[in-house]
Amino acid sequence: MSTTPSSEFFIPKLKTDIIISMLGKGLRPNGRKVDEIRPVTIIKDYIPNADGSALVKLGNTQVLVGVKLEIGTPFSDTPNEGNLMVNAEFMPTASPVFEPGPPDENAIELSRVIDRGIRESKAIDLSKLAIISGRKVWNIWVDIYVLDHDGNLIDASSIGTLAALMSTKLPNIEVKDSGEIVIDKSNKGEPLPLSKAVAAVTIGKIGNYLIVDPDIEEESLLDSRLTVIVDEDGSIAGLQKSGAGYLIEEELPTIINIALSKGKEVINTVRNIVKGSK
């Protein structure tokens, strides 16, 4: 059952009015411009036991993404493709309102939006991840751990996922005569075949105002938001409206344009940091 959430971060009406009047002048409570994204920091290869990983901060939102590669069995309709599994956990460390337990609808939605963006844009070339045709392929597990929640978990998770995948190395393997496959994790192998970079850009709507990368205080005021998955070719590789409010037709072109421009910016940032910190 999906249930109307109680507003976790109740903001008094007066403050809401003040913020909306600020937005009318193009100002945000946190001092950012309406189309300004918070600073991004990335530490890649943070988890020695993962095949790829990144600790990402988007402002004060902190997400740890780990990628693990395991040998699996292909689905019968894609016998020569690896499998992608994306899972997100909102850790109880991240917020006073998160309790331990299986992922709730927000965590599930987040992981599925990230998953679809990677899958549909063909960001990972899954066809290069067969080991023995029809029998053995790589399973790619992307595990997203939200450690600290200061708003816009989805864009932070998208950045973390991109950075972790960019730093992932395929383990070296040896296929024995018996058909057994031995993984040799003693030294790092080839990079995971990434054919395209994608990033999520979330635009929030407060009253009639649109803001990029809302923080947690702004999120408590949002009527609705649209997450746009942008690929590096400037195409839209996914959309997800969420929140109890609506969008109006006329807002769509503006949202799309901001997202495409900001998405390009984010992809470049991630690429520079991951390459640069090599």
Partner: protein, 242 residues
């Protein structure tokens, strides 16, 4: 992408003979259940969805009460025989996501502030799945809410558009969804011009997106008309302006 050797569109017609901008046969009825306060059965071709509404009523668990409005609870569920391979009856991750997406497609139109400290419960059962189940669910739930007499600013109607073999098509079915390049479900409150559901699964250029959205609007208008006719037939005395 299209499966090798499989053409879904030939001579401008789709695999089932439809034109690119043609809906499947749409059928709707309301009041199909006795116990529920409101109910509806909606069919988009072979996709069949039942929605039931209970409420406004006292919530089953007190902790979820809101002091200033009704909470809306929504479950999107697929019957185990609704899919090609039998589905486990437990809620999948997909069903959990769609329960949220469908709820959020209805929240904007329900006048929930009229019923503080109550719950409005929407139970959706997909009994046969052939593509477009979430948008048919939004349509069915909207009718069931109206049938339950719950005040709404507008009805909501939904449809999915897709990109198949390079063409944009209206009301994708399962085959088109599976082998097509993109699937974009949209729901709107048409009189209010409000978009209450928007997802995209696949890749579209910005231009394609614009065209796809126009196509969706066209389908939504048509479905909205059927919704209003359906309610008018049931409630002859209800004023619905044509």
């Amino acid at each position: 992408m299209g499966k090798v050797g499989m053409k879904l569109i030939e001579s401008g017609l789709r695999h089932d003979g439809r034109k690119l901008d043609e809906l499947r046969p749409i059928s709707m009825s309301v009041g199909v259940l006795k116990n529920a306060n409101g109910s509806a059965l909606v069919e988009y071709g072979r996709t069949k969805v039942i929605a039931a509404v209970y409420g406004p009523r006292e919530p089953q668990t007190r902790y979820m009460l809101l002091p200033n409005r009704a909470v809306i609870r929504c479950r999107y569920h697929m019957a185990s025989f609704s899919t090609h391979d039998r589905k486990s009856p437990t809620l999948s991750r997909r069903e959990i996501e769609l329960s949220k997406v469908v709820r959020e497609a209805l929240e904007p139109v329900v006048l929930s502030e009229l019923y503080p400290r109550t719950s409005i419960d929407i139970f959706i059962e997909v009994i046969n799945a052939d593509g477009g189940t979430r948008t048919a669910s939004v349509t069915a739930a909207s009718l069931a809410l109206a049938d339950a007499g719950i005040p709404m600013k507008d009805l909501v109607a939904g449809v999915a558009v897709g990109k198949v073999d390079g063409f944009l098509v209206l009301d994708v079915d399962e085959l088109e969804d599976m082998y097509g390049e993109a699937d974009m479900p949209v729901a709107m409150a048409p009189s209010l011009r409000q978009i209450t559901l928007l997802q995209l699964n696949g890749v579209l250029t910005p231009d394609e997106f614009t065209q796809a959205f126009e196509l969706a609007k066209k389908g939504i208008e048509a479905i909205y008309s059927v919704e209003r006719e359906t309610l008018k037939k049931k409630y002859l005395d209800v004023k619905v302006e044509d």
